[in-house]
Amino acid sequence: MQPRSVATKTVHDHGRGTMWWALSVAAFVAMESAIYPSIRHQAGFQDTWRQLPDAMKALFGLGKELDFTTGTGFLQAEVFGFMLPLAFIGYAIALGGRAIGREEDRGTLDLLLAYPVRRGRVVVQKHLAGVAMTVALGVAVFVTLVVADELADMRVPVARLASVMAGVVAVGLCFGAVALVVTCIGPSRGVAYAAASVAALAAFLVNSLASITSVVRPVRPLSPFRWALGDEPLRTGFHAGLLVPVAIAAVLLVVAAWAFERRDIAT
């Protein structure tokens, strides 16, 4: 495929990688779902779970009253509590850090920016291409979930799956934008990955631990997890809070474009 714009070049660069991510995450979802029919009737599993300390449950991003034997509880515990947000955040951070960071590390940024393209537009085009791929990854996983839901008889409404997937994609986009903004402020891809990962971990812990300790409760609204997944969209459906991490991502993108217009390009 012949790339003809900064956006299509970005898709050209990451299309294959994105396909592998989609296949891996879909395979993970399918394998997890395949276990469900065999444990739904095992009360012992649920008892063991109940005996776990609340702190541990919280660390896995799970509420105290989770019921493993329902499809909703099972998916929350096995898929949405930890693994899927982790996968999407990892993917989005990789893309966000690469958009400008990789070209600068490789030295191709000098050539690209010597062409008549506005720097801010380069940032926006590259990042929106990354957003589109993250959403596409979300859609692929969502379709897998719908099929798995049906095959494993988990009885989770499709709209609920859509709302929790939207939340997962939203947190991913938020921390991907953190990685982007760091690389746009200065040439530092490693710092960007580290900063975005630490921010994501902190936000995850604040949101999770707020349910068991009052210490972090006041700062919980600062966590994008609280807004995207804190209202348990898998049980309760869509919430407008979902737009908070998306809005944060949009603001970070504007900051990134602004900062990138103003700095020196490294050789």
Binding site: D110, L112, P116, I265, T267
Partner: protein, 301 residues
Amino acid sequence: MVTAGMTTEGLTKHYGSAVGVEGLDLEVRRGEVFGFLGPNGAGKTTTIRLLLDLIRPTAGRAEVFGLDTRRDSVAVRRLVGYLPGDLHLYDELTGEELLGYLGALRGGVPQAAVTRLAEQLDLDLSRPVRALSKGNRQKLGLVQAFMHDPEVLVLDEPTSGLDPLVQLEFHAMVRAARDRGATVFLSSHVLSEVQEVADRAAFVRAGRLVAVEDVESLRRKALRHVHVVFDRPVPATALASVPGVRRVEVQGPRLRCLVEGDADAFVKALAQHHVVSITSEEADLEHVFLTHYREAGHAAA
């Protein structure tokens, strides 16, 4: 009044406490080939990257065709074909895909121009960039710089990695660009290359402008190390008095010296004797500086 091709006024770039360029005042005329000469680390690449708005000046300003390189940066880059000194290309694309992509960023470039340049440089565009040698990548860099027939060419060490035959082809490309009215700004650390194609040249050292010379005075300033072997010992005095010949050292039938500028008198003096072999090598730019600009060079250092 015709606006200048390129001007810099007090252009300065510091990196922390290190000086990239300091108070650079240049004026490149429209339609001329302007050489930008200096040893490695003199600030040539810094100047060029300032012109393209890849880095921002600490002080001073620059214009290309009357356009401010900061404020009108996109318009400047539309005019310019640029070859980076440290060229990095998209390894995963083929030559054709790369040029297609870069051409699209300019809003499209005639395929005929790309094909003609690739043929002129004998470059296979179907191969992936990662499979290309250093020289072939450099050719690809030249094609992308020339492909839209730019009004301004900014070329940073353009012949590095090119074999001598391709260098000749490159010189022809530069002359053709000048003949159609383009302004060419070409950096180099090799005096002879600039003599070959430039109308005028600036010497920079340690970030400062040392001198601007026309091509005639460049020729006069050329320095060559010459090593001659005669069939029998020759007295040093026979050649030491020849104009332009310096630092004559004689050991039996062997003679070493520096020849400055026009070599005619030296060659005619040699012809009085039986010459077995003669080799000649261009002196590096640092040597030229020390010979001609000792004062200015020290002031800058």
